[in-house]
């Protein structure tokens, strides 16, 4: 296929993994500051706070300083979203705390990211947390990984330090199947970059401290990273969110209007395509595609549209429209990696609610095969699941779901688990 990707005016969502000690807040602060996202009054505010705390220079990490509740406890409890724009691209940063007890926050941030920046302190090299962050980025299927070796200023910008960290990381990445190569096409696109976030070196600007590094700056990498989650072509998946039937309208032409509203989660669709509505298996053809009342000939991934079909088919929220030649079988049993998000442990005896696309089903735990130690990546036998645990679990479902494996389709491979007694979201699942 010959296509030239233009990223002009597109949007990239990325996340940063690391703890405060790695300079994560400084890195984000730098990106915002160097792309001129920070305006004068905010800068005055953090400069006052810096002085109050007895610091000489303005502490850019204060830009990501959290809620009062967090400041009081001196910890970060939640994912924060930040925005900047370069004129070429708009960026959404998911800023997640990196400590072990915040696996759930990392998974949350990763779920919408297409690129992860994994921070390594040049003085410390590849640590347990680096492995944890990499494993989670892998588990949640982030296609692009940038390993940022930070604090190069504290190791005299020594290339041998940087080279050793890169080699260590590659060895580890290869070991867990992270690396994309001819044997492992599902692997990740991994890049390395030396930097000093504190000095703003190799983020937006290239200072002259590391002449041995001729690769791209962080911003150059971000500007070129593909916006789409995958470059593979995916099957058309259209979960119905809402059915529009304006039959009571004054306009007689709308009397038979039946619009299936939803977002194209993957693939493409065009007027005239043969489709199947699942789980019932009715067949029809696409009569029209609209955004609002504007007609389209075709629609692609991530577009929110209204589909009109040739035949009158009884379809409601939770059904899935697929291309007939790409239809998947509805299933009543799934196996998945689950990250537990709730302080209340999973109870294998209870019935939970699974939300998958726009569909819900009651679900019971079948078997828990093992849980994964996120630090050693060892599999351990277990009978329960606590907050931040990740385990391989099978579920029996009351209603059929139209699933794909998470590795082949992020939107139809993902689900959340809801505890009906509290209505809380207690788990996140990725179908195997």
């Amino acid at each position: 296929m010959t296509h030239t990707h233009s990223h002009h005016d597109s949007l990239l969502r990325f996340m940063t993994c690391g703890s405060v000690d790695d300079g994560k807040s400084t890195l984000i602060g730098r990106l915002l500051y160097d792309t001129k996202t920070i305006l004068a009054d905010t800068l005055t505010q953090i400069s006052n706070t810096s002085k109050k705390r007895g610091m000489e220079a303005v502490d850019l990490s204060l830009l990501t300083d959290g809620l009062q509740a967090e400041r009081e406890q001196g910890i970060t409890i939640d994912v924060a979203y930040r925005y900047f724009s370069t004129g070429t691209r708009k960026y959404i940063i998911a800023d997640a705390p990196g400590h072990e007890q915040y696996t759930r926050n990392m998974v949350t941030a990763a779920s919408t990211a297409n690129l992860a920046i994994i921070l390594i302190d040049a003085r410390k090299g590849v640590l347990t947390q680096t492995r944890r962050h990499s494993y989670l980025a892998h588990l949640v299927g982030i296609p692009h990984i940038v390993v940022a070796v930070n604090k190069m200023d504290l190791v005299n910008y020594d290339q041998t330090v940087y080279d050793k960290i890169c080699a260590d990381y590659l060895a580890f990445a290869n070991e867990i199947g992270l690396l994309r190569n001819s044997d492992n096409e599902a692997g990740h696109d991994i890049r390395f970059i030396p930097m000093s976030a504190l000095n703003g070196d190799m983020l937006v600007d290239r200072l002259d401290s590391m002449p041995w590094y001729q690769g791209e700056t962080l911003l150059e990498i971000l500007e070129k990273a593909p916006a789409a989650h995958t470059e593979q072509s995916e099957a058309f998946r259209f979960p119905v969110q809402f059915v529009c039937r304006p039959h009571a309208s004054d306009n007689p032409e709308l009397h038979d209007f039946r619009g299936f509203m939803g977002r194209v989660e993957s693939g493409e669709i065009a007027v005239g395509d043969a489709v199947t509505v699942l789980p019932n298996g009715y067949h029809s053809k696409v009569k029209a595609i609209q955004i609002g009342e504007q007609p389209l000939q075709s629609a692609k991934t991530e577009q929110s549209i209204t589909l009109l079909l040739e035949d009158e088919i009884d379809t409601s929220r939770g059904d899935m429209i697929v291309k007939t030649e790409e239809a998947n079988e509805p299933v009543k049993q799934i196996e998945a990696f689950v990250c537990w998000l709730s302080e209340t442990p999973l109870s294998p005896a209870r019935t939970y609610l699974v939300r998958h696309t726009s569909r819900e089903s009651k679900a019971k735990v079948g078997t828990i095969s093992y849980k994964v130690d996120v630090n050693t990546l060892e599999q351990q036998a277990t009978t329960d699941l606590k907050m931040n645990d990740i385990a391989r679990i099978s579920f029996k479902l009351a209603q059929p779901l139209m699933v794909d494996s998470y590795s082949s389709n992020r939107a139809t491979g993902a689900f959340i688990i809801i505890d009906e007694s509290t209505n809380n979201t207690v788990g996140a699942g990725m179908i195997i």
Binding site: H5, D9, S10, L11, L39, D41, T42, Q45, G66, L67, Q68, A69, I77, D78, V79, A80, Y81, R82, Y83, K90, N105, V107, T108, T112, A228, Q241, F242, C244, R245, P246, S249, N251, L254, F257, G259, M261, G262, R263, I291, G292, E293, S298, K300, E302, Q303, S304, L341, R355, H356, S358, R410, A411, A414, F415, I416, I418, N423, N424, T425, A428
Partner: protein, 313 residues
């Protein structure tokens, strides 16, 4: 084939944001039994109305519009609000902070205390009156620090309180808007938009706005470094924001970046009299939207967080 090539291009950032917002609005409609859309006549809520048109037309909106009126709103904005609702043929409910004051549920510390934060009380009363289970609002995460961690579907307890430590994890685009009776969800379809995105969208969609968003001559006074509109007439004939002793009334060319309660929304000096000039000005401004214009956010570093905990949207 050119159409085939277009298919491989990612959506533009505005198309992506639009599509995400439509998806969120449809999730609210699909998951909630009695939602409502908060509509003030301001630019963010006007964007949401356009998004709702794209989400639900040719059908009617599956929710009414609700405005909590402090009684201290600019006439231009109130007129625009009514006109827009009428054009859309959608139902507009207005509930007034002044009614809550009469009921005794809102008690002002002083007669001239800004009423903005008291909107929370009237909103909660309206939620109870109509049994709304979800309020759709135009808040954005880039507006303020306390909003950066806000969920797209934000859970509020029976007292309308936002507990930052008790929010549901939000993964992928799988939103959980479930609530028990009495509890409430606040849904924010344009969470991921910045002020710039909003102006670009208004420009692209040719959205009409209340006139006070554009540069106009206005009497103002300078008060504690902020531009305060002076002698603003209300519909009932009352004139508010009268200058204090010693304050000099100046006539200046200004525009509003946000519109809200007159007593706590300040204009900025500007000659931007059309949308493209505003977009340009937004790109080169040195002051944040709320920093320049919201007098109520400056009381403390955490004032927005505090108000949200008390049920503010």
């Amino acid at each position: 084939m050119t159409t085939q090539q277009n298919q491989t291009q990612p959506l533009s950032h505005l198309d992506w944001l639009e599509s995400e917002a439509i998806h969120i609005l449809r999730e609210v409609a699909g998951q909630c039994s009695n939602p409502v859309l908060l509509f003030s006549g301001g630019k963010d809520s006007l964007c949401i109305l356009r998004l709702a048109e794209k989400a639900f037309r040719p059908g009617k909106f599956p929710f009414p519009l609700l405005h909590i009126d402090t009684g201290h709103n600019y006439q231009e904005v109130i007129n625009f609000r009514d006109q827009r609702a009428a054009e859309l043929g959608e139902r507009l409910i207005v509930r007034s902070v002044e009614d809550s004051m009469q009921r005794g549920t809102v008690v002002l510390k002083t007669a001239d205390e800004p009423r903005n934060k008291h909107q929370s009380v009237t909103l909660l009363e309206a939620i109870e009156e109509f049994g709304f289970d979800c309020c759709i609002g135009g808040a954005r995460r880039d507006e303020e620090k306390a909003r950066a961690k806000e969920r797209i579907m934000s859970f509020r307890d029976e007292f309308g309180q936002w507990d930052p430590k008790n929010q549901r994890p939000e993964l992928w685009n799988l939103y959980n808007a479930r609530a028990h009776k009495g509890e409430n969800i606040r849904a924010f379809p344009i969470s991921n938009w910045t002020e710039m995105d909003v102006w670009q969208y208004i420009e692209r969609e040719h959205l009409a706005l209340p006139s006070i968003y554009f540069a106009h001559q206005r009497d103002i006074v300078m008060r504690a470094g902020a531009i305060v509109p002076a002698n603003v007439p209300l519909a009932n004939g009352e004139v508010i924001n009268q200058p204090k002793a010693g304050e000099e009334v100046i006539n200046m060319q200004v525009r509003f970046r946000t519109v809200g309660d007159i007593t706590c929304t300040a204009p900025v000096i500007s000659d931007a009299d059309n949308i493209s000039k505003i977009v340009l000005e937004t790109a080169t401004t040195t002051i944040t939207e709320r920093g320049a214009t919201r007098l109520d956010d400056q009381t403390s570093d955490a004032s927005m967080e505090q108000r949200k905990k008390e049920g503010y949207f």
